[in-house]
Every structure is written in structure tokens, then in C-alpha cells.
């Protein structure tokens, strides 16, 4: 009888579990997981932050199919420019990318018709000028958004360049002062910068080569001939580039160590990016050891999304990593595959309002991702904190916690709010959940002082009373002793 009852309970709980699984699968139906890494660097699955929201090809936009497009750019007026590399043209789409506004495949220059040859990168400046990295023509073409010729930047001359330097521009971006930043093929020294006049001013953001002691040791042992056959130690390449409203350049790069795949360069070309708790800005911390999808993430493009938030596109596993200004990993989503919402060869990432758009070169398609409640709440909370409005951020963090109670950033944010509000006990609880040791220590210090000041009265009373009793006892004993001595004397 008892065993039967137990069996029924088991069956019921199993049924409940199966039902729960069923609903989970029903709610999910996404071709990828959304996750982040927690304090202990474990993968922490979270609710979806961004979900697929449509796919645009050349045909859906009312033109012919894109052929190996390589770059995307969203203009200040909201139009989307696609560098349709294989078709030697720039396609301009409207705000929601449903229609083609115009196609730029040629322009009139000095009275002659000129055209592109494999335009690889595209960018629209704040001053509404279209910059096209015309790779095989070895030049950057500057046009008006309508396609009227403005100027050409080519053939950079400088002592720092090698004599046989072949200028093949791949990605281009422009800052508020119309300085042009170009990533060129085989330009390992950094990003090429041109003044608005078109003069080459120098390299920018050079990545130092790291040679380990061990490698130095082996090089010392090798003979000259052997050394010449060894691999050259060259800096890693930049792959993608974006610029924020302050004129700081975000540039993604390949890092074989998986430690830092993004740099934020100040106007002097120094890296000023902030790293988070674990000092890692390299994407995935874990991965398979063998196979095609092993190794660190390979960032191919970056988009600055405002309020210090930026997203990186990993071409190795097709994932999109989003970090905040302090270098905290907010969420990771996306994947390779053939289902809707996955990529084959992701090459460029951009943002349109609150959507993320990714260009897939193989399929010639632009994939749109829309923020879910979870994703937009995180973006909102991080944005509010960026603005210094911690109080407002608490509301958003609390809602984030309702969707994912393990979110460390949310716990930590709420803990900090309690700390400023003076509720130290609550602050300690949340800061511990958020694994924020520094602030936990501050909260604990204040809590400790609180306890001390509260209990100092009773504790001191007891101490004083105990001392008084001892003194009294001692005196009594003294008198008794005196009495005894007297007795003894007698």
C-alpha cells in the first residue's frame, strides 16, 4: 500500500516534469541558446534576449539577389546601405529594409563614367557622405548619398609604409571631423587614418606583438636559416570598425588567445577599453577542444549600440556577444546553421533602432533580431546606469530578476541601490548573489558598525556591571582576609 502511494507520487511528479519540459520547448523554438558566463565562468543559460525577426534578401527588397555582400551601414537618416560586393554595387534600402531606395553602381567622375570593383566596405558619415572601400580599385570613393562624386582617397604616401605597399581597403568608417579610418588588407600595423583632405596621416591603434619567453628561447636556439623559415610574428589583424558619439573607435580583432577581441581607441590610438571582473573580452570562455568549431571566438565586426553597449559578431560559431561599458558580458545569442535566424557566413553587424541586423555573405541576406522583454530590460537598465540614474535602473533590474533570478548584474545593481538607501542587510544579500565582493565588503562594514553602535549600550552596561562586581568581591575578600589575619594573629 505504502509502496503504491510512493509510486503514484513518482508518476505524478514525472508527468509534471514532462509537461513542464513540453511547455519549455513550446515557448523556446529558437535555433540557438541565449547565455552568459557567471562569476565562476560557468555557462548560464538565460531567457532569450533577442529573437529572429525576419530576413531580407535582394529579392524581398525588390531588386536582384545580393552576391557575397560584405558590409552594412545605417545612415543617420535611417537608410541602410549594403555593400553588394559580388555585384559591384551599393544597395540602399529604406528604414525597415522592405524596399530598395536606390542602387549605386557607377558615378560620374571628371566627365567620365566610373564604377566599383568589389566594394567591400561602406560607411555614411555624420555629414551625410557615402564612403565606399572600393577594394580591387585600391581606393576609397566618397560620394553624396545620391551617388554624386565628391572625391577619391587612394595611394597613401608615407615613410611608415613599405615601398611595395598595396592599398586594398576592406572596411571604412568616418568620425565627426571627417577623418577616415580604413582597415586594409595586410596592413598589420594598424588602422590607416586619412585627414578629410585625403592625406594619409599614419597608423592608428597598433596592436603589440606578444612573444612569450619560450618562443624567444627557441628563436635564440634556431639558426638564421631556420629562423627565416619560421612563422613571422605579426600583430593580429583588425576585422571590423565602428565609431561612437565621442569619436572613440571600436575595432574588433582576431585574438588567438581568446582574451581581447575588441579595442576602444582614443584619438591618440591608445586602447582605453574597460575590462570586466574576469578581464576577458574575447567572447567564449569555453568551447570544444577539437573540430571545426573549437578555439576562441573570431570577431569579424563590431557595432556600438549607444550608452556604452557594444555587440560583437563571432564568425566562428555565429554568435553575437554584447558587452557593456564596464566590460560585463550581458548576453550571447545566435548560431550557425540553416534554420531561420542562424547564419552561414556572418560578416557584418549593425543596429537599427532597437533591432540588431546581421549580414550573411553566403546567403546574401540580412537577418533582423528584435529585443525580447528580457533583452530590452537589460539594455534599459545598463543604459540608465550609464547615464548615472541608478535609482531608475533598480526598477529595470528588478524586472530582469523576475525573468532570470540568477542575473548577477541585476543582483549586484539592486544590492548597490540598497547600499545607497542604507539598508545594509539587504544590500549584503543581493551583493553576495551578484558576487560583488568589493561592495559586499562595504555593506558588511556599515552593517557591522550599525550592530556595534546599537549594542554598545547594553554591552558596556554589562561590562561595567561585571567589573563593578569583581571590584566589590575583591574588596569583600580583602576585608575578610584582614579579618582572618586578625584572627590568626589572635
Amino acid at each position: 500500500m505504502r509502496r503504491q502511494k510512493w509510486f503514484v507520487t513518482l508518476a505524478a511528479s514525472l508527468a509534471a516534469a514532462v509537461a513542464a519540459l513540453g511547455t519549455c520547448a513550446g515557448a523556446k523554438e529558437l535555433p540557438y541558446d541565449t547565455y552568459t558566463y557567471d562569476y565562476r565562468e560557468n555557462v548560464m543559460l538565460t531567457p532569450a534576449a533577442y529573437v529572429p525577426n525576419g530576413r531580407i534578401t535582394g529579392q524581398t527588397a525588390g531588386t536582384t539577389d545580393f552576391k557575397e555582400p560584405q558590409d552594412l551601414c545605417v545612415a543617420p537618416d535611417g537608410l541602410v546601405y549594403v555593400a553588394d560586393t559580388g555585384n559591384n554595387r551599393i544597395v540602399v534600402l529604406d528604414e525597415d529594409m522592405s524596399q530598395t531606395v536606390r542602387i549605386i553602381d557607377s558615378f560620374e567622375r571628371d566627365g567620365e563614367q566610373d564604377s566599383f570593383n568589389a566594394p567591400y566596405g561602406v560607411c555614411v558619415s555624420e555629414n551625410e557622405q557615402l564612403y565606399v572601400a572600393d577594394s580591387n580599385n585600391k581606393r576609397v570613393v566618397v560620394l553624396t548619398p545620391e551617388g554624386e562624386f565628391v572625391k577619391i582617397i587612394d595611394n597613401p604616401q608615407s615613410e611608415v609604409l613599405e615601398d611595395d605597399f598595396d592599398f586594398v581597403p576592406l572596411k571604412v568608417t568616418v568620425d565627426y571631423a571627417d577623418r577616415v579610418y580604413v582597415i586594409a588588407r595586410n596592413a598589420f600595423e594598424g588602422i590607416l587614418v586619412f585627414e578629410n583632405t585625403g592625406d594619409f596621416t599614419g597608423y592608428f591603434g597598433t596592436i603589440d606583438v606578444k612573444i612569450t619567453l619560450w618562443e624567444k628561447f627557441w628563436r635564440r636556439l634556431a639558426s638564421k636559416e631556420e629562423r627565416s623559415k619560421q612563422q613571422l610574428y605579426i600583430p593580429t589583424e583588425f576585422t571590423g570598425i565602428d565609431i561612437d558619439s565621442d569619436g572613440f573607435v571600436y575595432a574588433s580583432n582576431l585574438d588567438s588567445d581568446g582574451l581581447q577581441g575588441i579595442r576602444r581607441l582614443n584619438p591618440r590610438g591608445e586602447d582605453v577599453i574597460q575590462k570586466g571582473e574576469n578581464q576577458n573580452l574575447g567572447g567564449d570562455l569555453w568551447g570544444s577542444v577539437y573540430g571545426t568549431y573549437s578555439g576562441p571566438s573570431e570577431f569579424t565586426d563590431v557595432v556600438y549600440r549607444g550608452k556604452g553597449i557594444y555587440s560583437l559578431l563571432d564568425r566562428k560559431r555565429g554568435r553575437i556577444f554584447t558587452y557593456d561599458k564596464e566590460g560585463n558580458l550581458l548576453y550571447v545569442f545566435g548560431g550557425l546553421g540553416s534554420q531561420e535566424g542562424t547564419f552561414n557566413t556572418p560578416v557584418a553587424i549593425e543596429t537599427v533602432e532597437d533591432q540588431i541586423i546581421v549580414l550573411d555573405a553566403y546567403h546574401g541576406a540580412v537577418l533582423k533580431f528584435a529585443a525580447t522583454e528580457y533583452g530590452s530590460l537589460i539594455d534599459k537598465a545598463v543604459g540608465l546606469r550609464y547615464d548615472g540614474d541608478e535609482k531608475q535602473a533598480i526598477g529595470a533590474w528588478e524586472q530582469v530578476l523576475k525573468l532570470n533570478e540568477n542575473n548577477e548584474l541585476a543582483n549586484s545593481g539592486i544590492g548597490k541601490a540598497y547600499l545607497t538607501a542604507g539598508d545594509n542587510a539587504q544590500a549584503m544579500k543581493y551583493l553576495k548573489l551578484g558576487m560583488n565582493r568589493k561592495y559586499y565588503s562595504i555593506a558588511w562594514q556599515r552593517y557591522r558598525n550599525e550592530l556595534l553602535t546599537q549594542s554598545i549600550g547594553p554591552v558596556m552596561t554589562v561590562v561595567v556591571a561585571v567589573i563593578a562586581v569583581f571590584v566589590l568581591l575583591a574588596q569583600v575578600r580583602k576585608r575578610k582576609g584582614r579579618g582572618k589575619r586578625k584572627e590568626g594573629l589572635l
Binding site: R40, K432, R437, K438, Y440, S441, I442, W444, Q445, R448
Partner: protein, 211 residues
Amino acid sequence: MIKELFSLDKWKYAFYTVSHPMDAYYEIRHRGRGSVPVAIVLVILFSLSFSVNRMSASFVVNDVDPLDVNALTELIAVLLLYLLMCVSNWSITCLMEGEGRLKDIAIAIGYALIPMIVCFNIATLFSQFVSLEEAAFYWIIMALGIAYGLIMMLMGIMVVHNYTLAKTLVTVFLTFIAMFIIIFVVLLFVDLINQVYSFFYSIYQELMYRA
């Protein structure tokens, strides 16, 4: 043997070893003042204090994932390591004119853990009150315990075998090598036994299928 565990004299002597290691280790070797059961209990206590420290030292100073702490596996590991250390030290010192018996080595190492036991527990308790600014004191307590323990261990081995300091250091180094050799042989042995077992098991399976 077990009686020794409840002998106040033996326990007192263990603590006397902490304050007067040179004299006490000499008496342990030559006058039988030490006790192996007490040493083993001390090793167990050390393992427990180690686990408790990892588990419940305050969040301010503790970076260990509580899910990673398993007092039982840690106890087994510590006991095995203790056994390994004793045996390998014994096997080395036997060849190097050491006067200590296995018993003396076991007692020397076991008693040397007392400062660590005391300091670990004090540190765990103390950590409940510290903030990050005072965390240095916590680390000092821990380091003191470990340093004193190691010094006691060295002294113990030195006195028990009647060695000079230089010779002790050499034997300690050799002891580590011996430990690696023992581990290697044990692993080899386990692997061979496994192969023999699987050989007979496959014969058994074959017979069962054919019968």
C-alpha cells in the same frame, strides 16, 4: 593503542611539541612520548578544518565555489597523502641512515599539523568579522599557520632521523621524488589489474554466449 587516544598526557605532549619542537621530537623518538593514534586524529582534524575553512570562511575572503567542497573526498585525499608522505619519507630515510621508525615519521608529520589546525579555525572564525580592508590579517593568520606547520614538519624529520638541516632538505626533496614514483607504480598496477580483469571478464562473457 586506542587507549592512547584518551590519555591526557599524550594530548598534552602533542601541544608541548608545538612550543618545544626540538626537545619534544627527540623525546618522541627516544622515550616514546608520542602516539600514532593521536597523530592520525590530528590529520583528520586538519582535513576537517581545511574543508570548513573552504566552506564557511566569509564571502569577503573566500573565492571557493561551495559546490566544489566535499569534506569526505578531501578527508580521503588528505589521509592518502599523509600515508604517501610517511611511506615515501620512510623508504628514503631507511636508505640514508635515518634513525626514525615509520611510527616516528607518522607522529612527526601529524603533530606538525597542529599549528595549521589552530590557525585555520581561528582564521575561519576571524573571517566572519572582516571587511576587505582587514582581510590582510586573515591571510597573515593563514600564512603563519602554514609556515609554522612546515617548519615543524622539517624539524620533526630532522630530529627524528638525527639529520643535519642540509641532509633533511635533501631527503625532503628525495621524498617528493619517491612520492611520484609510488604514484606512478600504483597507477601502473591499477591499470594492469584492470586489463587482467577485463581479460577474464571477456572470457567469461564469451563462455556465457557460447554456452
